[in-house]
Amino acid sequence: MAKEMEITKEKKITMQQVEDSSSNSASKIEIKDVKVWYDDFMAIKGIDMSIKPNTVTAFIGPSGCGKSTFLRLFNRMNDYVDGFKMEGKIKLNGKNIYKNKVNVEELRKQVGMVFQKPNPFPKSIFENVAYGLKIQGIKDKKFINERVEKALKQADLWDEVKDNLKKSALALSGGQQQRLCIARTLAVEPSIILMDEPTSALDPISTAKIEDLIFELKEKYTIIIVTHNMQQASRISDYTAFFYIGELIEFDKTKTIFTNPEKQQTENYITGRFG
């Protein structure tokens, strides 16, 4: 992640379109006819979708269906992948994030990401959470302290680490590390949180904590989660999108998808009959 942030610093064009990145009000996302290629391979074949603010949307589908590629479009994580090419529009609160003048660093303040495997920096717990603020150039210690505490509280980690903030983040358990990564994301007060299989490496207790957290965070953020766990998708999301070979097969309320999906392909997938 550090490497990626360094790369983004090369783009110095100020982005006024994605303004007020620290306002942390949940954002609406509109996707219009998005197509993605990796060289000659078409990974996303023209997707339209609208994601409402303050909702949890789950992306499901078999491996290689394009759901992670699609998720990574929202904070332009695919920009540096060899052979990546994209067409279409992705609008965040009405502003196209793929316009040439968009400052990707600013965009990523607004669109945070949590990965499959917890990836804390080899620094203290405090430094991990404060990292995003510091690279933004914020030096006010009181402000940073307050933000770190708030983020750790939001991530439901504060009580467990408040007396050991100087301890190495690497000494935390896997579940704690993942909540730390969520706190690190929350510290810069994004409006959207992307999660790419955030609990696939965690035990059931840690998974339940992250799921509870997602439910609570929905009040303030728009959350999109990629998951291979059908029960997780049905437990925590408001909307579910089913992808198959680069296409969006069905996108509906989660309760509809898991009780009476419209498409046979969706039913076959969620009932474990293919995929």
């Binding site: 059908m230 029960q231 049905s234 898991f258 009780t259 009476n260 999906p261 039913e267 969620i270 009932t271 474990g272 009959r273």
Partner: protein, 221 residues
């Protein structure tokens, strides 16, 4: 769905069908015992009730296990929900067969043929059997059309039941000595009417399972 879950689902489907056949047989035998005044046959129905109860518990238990172990969704979830509810309705149907049989064992009264005729008893029974046939086809072949046929037929039962009071009143006025027989047959007619309602519930659950359509509490043609 994984192979094992598919297998368990099939076993549950078979148990549901077995319960349906058993309950149909219970109603058939109870009615025959009632008409022919055959207390041995009535005893058989009463004894078979324990088999019905055991199968009821087995199905309930298997549904619980299926829900806990395989986390069914969509059509699989509707299937389990339908089997659970159908099982409950069938067990109630069997209870009515048991109740009719108890009348025969507990009360030594033969029903006069003219009374059975004026109360359209045979028509009522045949309608129930025809409804049973419809839900059996619907269940086995996932045939929603067959399930829908029972709604109209249930109205026939309702009508006979609604008329029965006036018919009985008339018959008693003609011959007050038949009062004990009329009370008995009135009880059976009430049970038949209730069996019709329960078969209708089963049809509704089959439709829900196959088409995800909730037809419960809706006007049906």
């Amino acid at each position: 769905m994984v192979l094992n879950a598919e297998h368990q689902r099939e076993l549950l489907n078979e148990s549901g069908l077995k319960m349906l056949s058993l309950c149909i047989s219970q109603i058939e035998k109870a009615t025959e015992a009632f008409i022919t005044h055959d207390s041995d046959l009535a005893e058989e129905v009463i004894n078979t009730e324990t088999r019905v109860n055991a199968l009821d518990l087995k199905i309930e238990n298997d549904c619980e296990k299926f829900l806990a172990l395989y986390n069914p969704v969509a059509i699989d979830l509707r299937f389990i929900m339908a089997v659970l509810k159908i099982n409950f309705d069938l067990e109630r149907i069997a209870d009515h067969a048991y109740g009719i049989s108890r009348y025969i064992v507990d009360q030594d009264k033969k029903i006069a043929p003219h009374l059975l005729k004026s109360l359209e008893f045979e028509k009522m029974y045949n309608t129930i059997m025809s409804m049973f046939e419809n839900i059996t086809v619907a269940y086995q072949e996932k045939d929603v059309k067959s399930a829908r046929k029972v709604f109209k037929k249930d109205k026939i039962l309702d009508k006979i039941n609604a008329n029965s009071f006036a018919v009985i009143e008339k018959e008693i006025k003609k011959d007050p000595t038949i009062i004990d027989q009329t009370l008995l047959i009135f009880g059976v007619i009430k049970k038949f009417e209730r069996v019709g309602d329960l078969i209708k519930n089963v049809a509704e659950e089959i439709i829900f399972y196959i088409d995800a359509e909730v037809v419960k509490h809706k006007n049906k043609k």
